[in-house]
């Protein structure tokens, strides 16, 4: 039913919130593992850092940033409506505002994260 029901912006906002939440959780698990490797297996940690710095790693890093930013902004949108229920009448506009901030903040960050791919500068 989830894919058959044609919900509006509210349903999309919720679906993206869930997907980004699961992605962030997966990263946190990965992060716990990589931090463990610092002491447990330093060579493997160095190899993992090299993967993070590779083009695919950087794209994944940019996607992680996107998930974090969207989840944070939409989370604030939900909190604002929780505190002031009449604002639910403007939930669509609040969601569009989230996307505006997402683009304004996210694009420069993505540029900084991805730039080494085409400049070839290891960081």
């Amino acid at each position: 039913m989830l894919f058959r029901y044609r919900g509006g912006e509210g349903m999309l906002a919720w679906a993206f919130h869930r997907i980004s939440g699961v992605a962030i959780w997966a990263f946190v698990v990965l992060h716990v593992i990589d931090i463990y490797l610092v002491g447990g297996n330093p060579e493997a940690y160095d190899e993992l850092l090299a993967i993070y710095a590779s083009p695919i790693g950087r794209v994944l890093e940019a996607l992680l940033g996107a998930a974090l930013l969207y989840h944070a902004l939409n989370g604030l949108r939900i909190i604002v409506m929780d505190f002031w229920p009449p604002l639910t009448r403007y939930h669509r506009q609040l969601w569009y505002l989230c996307w505006l901030i997402f683009v304004v903040v996210g694009l420069p960050v993505a540029w900084i994260v991805l730039k080494p791919i085409w400049e070839g500068v290891p960081t």
């Binding site: 058959r4 029901y5 044609r6 912006e9 349903m11 919720w14 929780d82 639910t88 939930h91």
Partner: protein
């Protein structure tokens, strides 16, 4: 205008599971609504088609259906805005009895669980229980519910957990919780503070979008949530 009507049919005596059937029907896009087309199919093409309807004017709430992927009242939904291909299925998340008829018992059981009636143990006044216009306005929006179940069955939280009382029950609790003449707000808030109460709402807004009466359902749910929080602080 020729319309292809796709209807999800299910006869428990014949079918193992629901299946789609198509009907070509003539419709006047300016005048006809989905209910008119369902009548045309039943009266002219297939008398076995089963669906609920009563007033046919958006008041009784009998004919809420999943129309082109959204919960709508068949008697209110105009053909004009639906296109030449229309799909009709029973309300999601409720057991199907036959064709477009669902078992509403679970829905009404949730409704009854929130005590949707005025509770006042005080002495019966000689006249009306008076109330200011401002006090009446506080819950005006939630008096409009017609119990069609379009909201509850559009909610992904309800699909995932049928124990969730759902938006309609919360709307009807809201109607009494904020009524100054009522004395059972505490009891209702206690019920709705439980595992299957307001906290299952994920602010998805499908309910608000589906409501044929235009009730701001998500706002009502969040107002009840706030009342629960304020009660505890």
């Amino acid at each position: 205008m020729q319309i292809e009507l796709r209807i999800l049919r299910f006869d428990p005596e014949r079918d193992a599971r629901p299946h789609w059937e198509s009907y070509d029907v003539e419709a006047d896009p300016k005048l006809d609504r989905v209910l008119d087309l369902l009548h045309r199919v039943k009266y002219e093409l297939d008398g076995s088609l089963t669906f609920r309807r009563s007033c046919g004017h958006g008041i009784c709430g009998s004919d809420a259906l999943l129309i082109n992927g959204r919960n709508r009242l068949a008697c209110k939904e105009r053909i004009e805005k639906l296109g030449r291909r229309i799909s009709i299925a029973p309300l999601p998340g409720l057991p199907v009895v036959k064709d477009l008829v669902v078992d509403m018992e679970g829905f009404f059981s949730s409704y009854r669980s929130v005590m949707p009636f005025l509770v006042n143990e005080g002495p019966v006044p000689a006249g009306e229980r008076r109330q200011s216009a401002a006090d009446r306005a506080r819950y005006d929006d939630t008096t409009k519910c017609i119990l069609c179940a379009a909201c509850t069955t559009s909610c992904p939280s309800f699909w995932a957990n049928e124990g969730y009382v759902g938006p309609a029950a919360i709307v009807n609790a809201h109607r009494f919780i904020f009524d100054t003449r009522d004395e059972a707000a505490e009891e209702r808030l206690e019920i709705l503070a439980g595992d299957d109460g307001v906290w299952r709402c994920r602010t998805i807004f499908n309910c608000t979008d589906a409501c044929p009466r235009g009730i701001h359902i998500t706002q009502a749910i969040l107002e009840v949530s706030s009342a629960i929080v304020e009660r505890r602080t």
